[in-house]
Subunit: 242 residues, 2 copies
DNA sequence: ACACCGTTGTCAACGGTGTTGTCATTTCTT
DNA sequence: AAGAAATGACAACACCGTTGACAACGGTGT
């Protein structure tokens, strides 16, 4: 079934051939968009610059994507695919906690590599195949925890939204304009380290620890807190039904 | 010394008078900005429209704020003041968990009233007086939990960043353009409810619960999970030091 | 009262953004 | 070879944040 000749299937084959090529160009555009966003930050990812990067007029991109939002969703979908790629397979009999830990770790790694895309898409739903796989993966981990469906879903969403929210928080910090970032960073040493002890005693006595805590430690603590809450809810559920 | 003229008290009085009037105009501008952001959404809050709202040329706003970022920080500062206002005083002997629950609740209420500002400022630090008060308030609650300083700070930041991340997540959902919001919302019924059961059994069997869970329930679950984690860490600390 | 000077308001402009429409050119199918 | 579909190039629209120049106003010092 190569490409040409044969009567009836010709039009569909031709059309699918074009579709394929269109998809290839879409993928190339998403590639360039990732490169651009990583290099120039969230404000540098514009349709004109993306066209410039691809040596194509910006208007031509609207033949590939209905609007910029569709491009962003394509980038979000690929981000999820990267996380799936990063974490590898779920081995038979792996504790559900470890599955969720590995997903959380992969999400964090990808977020660190692509903060701009994280900021732009962390509250969106793509509905694409990678997202579908991810939903099934995480949700079945929570189902394995032994919770009733409504509690499983509640903790699933708590896990996902918390992870996304914290990743977006960190990504937003990491993708501020350098001067603004500097300004925000130094507030702890410029302002909070010099507060009068009388009015702000606790802040002053914790100032060293405040400047030392890392975003990753915060993320890990939050993930573990939610896993522990899920375990507790599962234990209560089993006690109640026995 | 003052500036040029010799009469010392006069110039400072005049200057403080001008400063006061300038601050009044700043406050009025922030008022209008809140009104505008609430009415027109995150994309509708522009300097030109804000000028239009105040019957002033947009360029005049740059006499009040160095740039748009400074306006946003002023709005963030006022947002924190609203939360402090909403939660009232900390009564003597109130359990630290309840203090943190009331702060979390106030934050959520203000976020739902002003989603646009939440999205625009959730990862920023103002360094202003309201923020200073809020830091001291939350941090002293965690100090009351009996944790060592480094653990207290770690859980303080986990609490704050998780709450901000989840509020920003919800706010971002609530301030999408209506058509995009509709598109994202219906993905669960358009896509996920129709997935083939063979490849996505768990998603299909939890579809009803997935469409029913609310952002507020997720938020409350996350906050309680972190409070529980803090309690556990405190208990371990007390056991270790006894 | 007058001149002065800092503050305020107005206007135009620059370079940037997402997006649309038009028209010519290329590419592929029949 | 002819016709249709896809692609590319260019200009344009309506916005955006921000800056500079310039006119009008108001209180101050002489």
């Amino acid at each position: 079934m190569a490409k040409k000749t044969v009567a009836s299937t010709e039009s569909t084959a031709a059309r699918s051939g074009r579709r394929e090529r269109r998809d290839v160009r879409r993928e190339a555009a998403v590639d360039a968009a990732f490169f651009l966003a990583e290099r120039e930050g969230v404000a540098g990812l514009s349709m004109r610059r993306l066209g410039q990067e691809l040596d194509v007029d910006a208007a031509g991109l609207y033949r590939l994507f209905r609007d910029k939002d569709e491009l962003l969703l394509a980038m979000a979908e690929r981000t999820i695919a990267m996380i799936l790629d990063e974490m590898g397979e779920v081995t038979e009999g792996e504790p559900w906690q470890d599955t969720l830990r590995r997903i959380a770790e992969g999400t964090w790694q990808v977020q660190t590599r692509h903060p701009a895309i994280t900021v732009l898409t962390f509250a969106r739903t793509t509905g694409g195949p990678a997202e579908q796989r991810m939903v099934e993966l995480i949700l079945s981990a929570f189902a394995r925890s032994g919770l009733a469906p409504d509690q499983a879903v509640l903790h699933y969403r708590t896990y996902v939204d918390t992870a996304l929210g914290l990743c977006a928080h960190s990504a937003a910090l990491n993708s501020l304009d350098p001067d603004v970032r500097e300004k925000d960073d130094t507030i702890w040493t410029r302002i909070y380290a010099r507060l009068p002890e009388a009015a702000h005693p606790v802040t002053r006595s914790h100032i060293d620890e405040l400047t030392r805590v890392t975003q990753k430690a915060i993320y890990d603590t939050a993930v573990e807190a939610i896993l522990a809450a899920t375990e507790r809810a599962g234990a209560e559920h089993r006690n109640a039904s026995s």
